[in-house]
């Protein structure tokens, strides 16, 4: 057994040992507040067991291992449906950025340790009503105010802002230059006066995202994590950190085995659905597609272990897996006929087709919409031209609204 396999096995044993306390089975029917409380206890246990900050420096309470162990642990953890969702963004992007860019190391260390143990949560305040795919189109202003800054404006789609203690935020500090050039990156205390969080109910009925309003929110210049006007590149660096994460060829929907079981249990025209060519074709195509994604992931892991940079094809996973999960979920609903109309708001998208279906669109939008991913593949991997961009080089305050 290789070192990494041994590592995975130890991780699996530990996860198994705490599954009875935190895993998917005991979480059925819990409210958000209960899940969050359980999640905090899980993070503490994970920290104590040595599986927190796996690839982070021991200086910040990490384990000092590589992203290989990190991804290996995540792949195992995913199978147990642990209550770690509330902390995923926090530990995935804002906290690593703080670690890297915050000059006050003592402060950063204190925050990182609390975040790793589930005591504090960080959110990512990037998107706005006017700046989603076009992140650099954001409008929230940061104006110099004495030796600090004053924030005014609105963020939108901020995941878990309602539970967050801190956030990282990109703001416009200079509207007279081209849109990418006038942005600056800060951290902000979510408990500051003038911050107001309003949850937004999503289509599936949950409230994971929020609108966040900033009304004369004062922050010190020491909250700044980028040069003035240099915020866009730190924002891009934030999005790059997530390059090494465990992926799921099921697109975070149900495993194909569940579809096959459903096809065995249901009938079309009085005959088992599993004998129907339309169903068989979808099973075969989905299997081939997922098998391809899994092989890409396995190859990327091997490359990382061999000290190589994995190929760009890893970026296909989200694009390919989520939209096919969406279609397969529709077909699974068809297969159930009118029985499919029963609906459980609390069901998990990993094992329930209705939940998978209603939640699928968010997966095609959050973290880069399908169309933006296609643009990235076309431009960065294949070397095709950028789209025509009428706002290119135009000072932000002269772009027609």
């Amino acid at each position: 057994m290789s070192d990494i396999e041994a590592y995975s096995e130890r991780a699996r044993e530990w996860l198994q040992s705490v599954a009875g306390e935190f895993g998917g089975a005991v979480r059925k029917g819990l409210s958000d507040a209960e899940n969050l409380a359980l999640g905090r206890r899980y993070l503490k246990a994970r920290f104590d067991a040595g599986y927190a900050g796996i690839n982070w420096s021991p200086e910040f309470g990490g384990q000092g291992l590589t992203h290989i162990e990190k991804v290996a642990f995540e792949a195992e953890e995913m199978k147990f449906s642990m209550p770690s969702g509330f902390f995923g963004i926090s530990l995935g992007m804002p906290v690593p950025i703080l670690m890297k860019y915050c000059e006050d190391k003592a402060f950063a260390k204190e925050r990182v340790l609390k975040a790793l143990q589930g005591e504090e949560i960080w959110c990512q305040l990037f998107s706005e009503p006017a700046g989603g795919s076009d992140l650099a189109g954001l409008r929230l202003r940061a104006e110099q105010d004495g030796n600090g800054w004053k924030l005014n404006g609105q963020k939108l789609w901020t995941s878990f802002a309602q539970y967050s203690d801190y956030g990282v935020i990109v703001a416009r500090t200079d509207p007279t230059v081209a849109k990418h050039k006038g942005l600056t990156y800060f951290w902000v205390d979510m408990k500051s006066p003038g911050v107001e969080v309003r949850p937004v109910k999503l289509a599936a009925g949950d409230h994971m995202v929020n609108e966040v309003f900033f009304d004369d929110v004062r922050i010190d210049d020491s909250n700044r994590l980028s040069p003035v006007g240099g915020g866009f590149s730190v924002a891009m660096a934030t999005l790059m950190i997530e390059r090494y994460t465990a992926t799921d060829s099921a697109g975070f929907g149900p495993h194909l085995d569940l579809f096959i079981s459903l096809a065995k249990e249901t009938k079309i025209g009085g005959k088992p659905a599993i004998e129907d060519g339309r169903i068989r074709q979808q099973i075969a195509r989905n299997y081939a597609m997922r098998n391809g994604l899994d092989a890409i992931t396995a190859r990327a892991m091997l490359m990382m272990r061999a000290g190589m940079e994995p190929g760009p094809e890893g970026s296909l996973n989200k694009l390919v897996s989520v939209r096919s999960r969406q279609k397969l979920s529709e077909l699974a609903i068809d297969l159930q006929g009118t029985d499919a109309l029963h609906y459980d708001d609390q069901a998990s998208s990993k094992d329930d087709w209705q939940a998978s279906w209603i939640g699928a669109p968010t997966g095609r939008i959050a973290g880069g919409a399908d169309e933006m991913l296609l643009n990235t593949i076309a431009e960065r991997i294949l070397g095709l031209p950028q789209d025509h961009r009428p706002d290119k080089g135009v000072p932000f305050n002269q772009i027609p609204a």
Partner: protein, 364 residues
């Protein structure tokens, strides 16, 4: 077996590409479309010289003792440049049938000749819509074959055929020396495949397997060939994406490169996804030879590769506009090849069923 190519394997791929690009050209491939039963002789000479014919056969019979992974790498490159003959796949399939099921005498008679490329092998299982007929119409009795195997790839040139026949109501797999057999060549949309009907009239043949074992053996040979073909299809699709990309970067319309229009650029980006999925599946299948579940991943590789090549052929032509549909432009060579490869060795419908049977059997 690893999912990562080692340095030796990468060197094989690079060398193959260099050699093929120097010796194969569109013009000669176009000429072959207008003749029946002929192949691109320089291609086949190259294959022999380079040892591709010997690659995945045992040393004891003049082979190089490499694996399906290396053969796949060669096939991927031949797919890029449009292989001028189907024999790398068909001879490999025939050789594997002899190797896995033949007597020592049969192996001695055929394997060294197949490894050197002096002899060409063909697979004659399919009859019309059935890639592996449970009760073939071609009969086998007292060591003699009778009947017609239709549309055999490589059939006009092959010296040896592995035939799925029936013996008194039981399927059998046999090896037939084609010296005396009649070949009916006919016009196809991809003539360099040397497709022909094989007409057996008391053609003597040697028994390899009988009953269910014959069907299993035939399916396994088909799966092995499918993995080679999946690489070839992936290579063809890869070459098409590059052509589409290059054209989209240079052809201008409405004041900009057509690649700046998203309907063009996203189309090409989608092709990239299909090709990478096909590549990953093909390599994984090649690396899984001899392991449990091989049939499943071979089927997956075949399905994904067919989808990739068909789509790439369709979309690459579209990106080229009028130039895409000219004879001289030659993109139709890929259109023709993609559909030919899609039906040789079992079509998409067949492999989808094989895969689902494997998946449902596994769960049962």
């Amino acid at each position: 077996m690893s999912l990562l190519y080692d340095e030796g394997q990468l060197a094989i791929a690079a060398e193959t590409r260099k050699v093929l690009e120097a010796r194969v050209n569109t013009k000669e491939m176009l000429a072959l479309l207008e003749q029946q039963g002929l192949f691109h002789a320089p291609f086949w000479e190259t294959a022999k010289q380079q040892g591709w014919t010997a690659l995945a056969l045992p040393e004891a019979y003049g082979g190089l003792d490499l694996t399906l992974v290396e053969l796949g790498l060669i096939a991927l490159q031949t797919g890029r440049t449009l292989a001028g003959a189907p024999f790398l796949t068909t001879s490999y399939g025939a050789a594997r049938a002899v190797l896995d099921h033949g007597s020592e005498a049969l192996k001695d008679a055929w394997l060294p000749r197949l490894a050197s490329g002096e002899a060409i092998g063909a697979i004659a299982f399919a009859e019309g819509q059935e890639p592996v007929p449970a009760l073939p119409t071609v009969t086998y009795a007292h060591g003699l074959l009778n009947g017609i195997k239709p549309s055999v790839s490589g059939g006009s040139q092959a010296h040896l055929a592995i035939v799925l026949a029936s013996e008194a109501g039981t399927p059998v797999l046999v090896a037939a020396d084609l010296t005396g057999a009649e070949r009916q060549v006919f016009h196809t949309f991809d003539n360099s495949r040397c497709t022909a009907n094989l007409v057996f009239q008391n053609t003597s043949a040697t028994l390899l397997a009988s009953g269910d074992a014959a069907l299993q053996a035939a399916l396994h040979v088909l799966a092995l060939q499918s993995v080679v073909t999946a690489h070839e299809q992936t290579g063809g699709a890869e070459a098409l994406i590059e052509q589409a990309r290059d054209y989209a970067n240079t052809r201008r319309a409405f004041g900009q490169p057509i690649g700046a229009f998203q309907s063009v650029k996203h189309r090409i980006a989608e092709l990239y996804g299909l090709v990478e999925l096909a590549r990953a599946n093909a390599l994984q299948a090649a690396a899984s030879e001899g392991q449990p579940g091989f049939l499943k991943v071979a089927a997956a590789a075949r399905i994904q590769a067919t989808e990739a090549y068909d789509t790439a052929a369709r979309d690459c032509v579209q990106v080229h506009g009028g130039i895409g549909v000219t004879w001289e432009g030659g993109l139709h060579l890929h259109m023709r090849r993609s559909r030919t490869l899609a039906v040789e060795q079992g079509n998409l419908l067949f492999w989808e069923d094989v895969l689902v049977d494997q998946l449902t059997g596994e769960m049962a």
